[in-house]
Symmetry: C2
Subunit: 247 residues, 2 copies
């Protein structure tokens, strides 16, 4: 089965959570918007599906996924992972475990919005420079209140997981663990000083990060050109003035 | 089957999306945190599950659901609806339709965050009065950019739905339609002037609102004491200074 992922071609963004799952599983997939437009792919292909009048079920925004050769488009990052994970062997088989993994992924989705809004607290359509004053206030609140709350919650989940010592859900690495790896990676890029202070209190998450980044397929992926570097257009951005180490 | 819903007892909030589904289906359920603490229910019961050290899979925040007599807690509003909808007959049976309905629900979830952040753009732990200046800017952006974008998207989805003339997903009223009713109700409460200007451009959504509010069980529920009135502690709040009718 071949998967087509549609996402903005120049950032990790929300698409990265899907890429990590596809890479870990060694899935056959195309990152369509990063392919040449000449061959019928690229950004034009993505925009056609996003705004095309002939699409019955258009997504609100990227990322979205299509099983090659089918019509169905699946949008919303957590929904894509809900669809993919059983097919890629990245979630336990029990129904209760799948709801639990999805619940954790949705909590990560909430967290991602809060990370994004540290640099865009007024509006996504405005430049950072147009909302820098508000960003400083929001980022300070994030570093002091919200970031410790999210990290503490997930550290607690790892500690309580009766299945696999070291993972968030079940007995083996799941897609939620891959997403948590990405959160830690992004937070280290965006808030290095704050994370340096908080990490010693969250050894389970740090160990999870190390374990995921050492998985053979993930390690190969991270060293490849398929992994887009963090940059100042993505969700995780490094503005030193927002990294208030007073946390 | 009896369901236990756990949510803050004095606001509609995110719990209302679950309440509407349970009410429409005529389900047997308890709104636990609104019951007397003497009988072992009430807020103490909710807080025990939220922070109890003996809970293996604690939710990050309310709402969460339990099937009475079982251990499993299901958190995250959209996840609760994903679990409940097939059991309550509020979603089509085809797998593709369920992913589509869930995708729409997750887009509504994103929209709810943006509604909340119009009055709390800096931090949920601060009072509105402490972030009023930023709230005015964010609300203006919401009314001009984001609200029309979300309304336009869902109006488009109703128009394209090949199944049921008037609903968002499938041939019959689904939980997504109930959630959309709640969005329109809340937006009318919070942004009456802006909504009065935008509604004529979105006749499908207005008709959906009318149709859902007239459904027999929903009409009974809305007139009952079980429906908590909108108030200034919920997600939808009416601050006239944020309702910029320039939209």
């Amino acid at each position: 089965m071949r998967y087509e992922l549609y996402y903005w071609p120049s950032i990790q963004g929300r698409g990265e959570f899907v890429r990590l799952a596809l890479e870990e599983a060694g899935a056959d997939y195309a990152d369509v918007a990063r392919m040449p437009a000449r061959g019928g792919a690229g950004m034009p292909a993505m925009m056609r599906l996003l705004s095309g009048v002939s699409v019955a079920c258009p997504p609100f925004a990227p990322p979205f996924l299509r099983v090659a050769g089918t019509e169905q488009l699946i949008g919303q990052t957590a929904n894509i992972l809900l669809f993919l994970a059983p097919r890629l062997g990245l979630v336990p088989k029990r129904e209760a475990s799948r709801f639990w993994a999805h619940q954790l992924q949705l909590t990560i989705a909430d967290w991602i919005v809060e990370v994004h809004d540290t640099h865009h607290p007024i509006g996504g359509g405005l430049y950072y420079e147009e909302q820098k004053r508000e960003a400083k206030r929001r980022a300070a609140n994030f570093c002091v209140e919200r970031l410790p709350r999210f990290l503490g919650y997930f550290e607690n989940i790892i500690t309580r997981n009766p299945g696999w010592a070291g993972g968030l859900a079940g007995r083996a690495a799941s897609y939620v663990d891959l997403s948590m790896f990405q959160m830690i990676a992004g937070l280290r890029y965006a808030f290095p000083r704050t994370m340096a202070k908080l990490e010693p209190k969250h050894p389970g998450l740090v160990a999870l990060y190390d374990r995921i980044s050492a998985r053979p397929r993930i390690a190969v992926y991270l060293a490849s050109k398929r992994r887009i570097p963090f940059n100042q257009s993505g969700i995780f951005r490094h503005y030193p003035e927002l990294d208030t180490s007073s946390a």
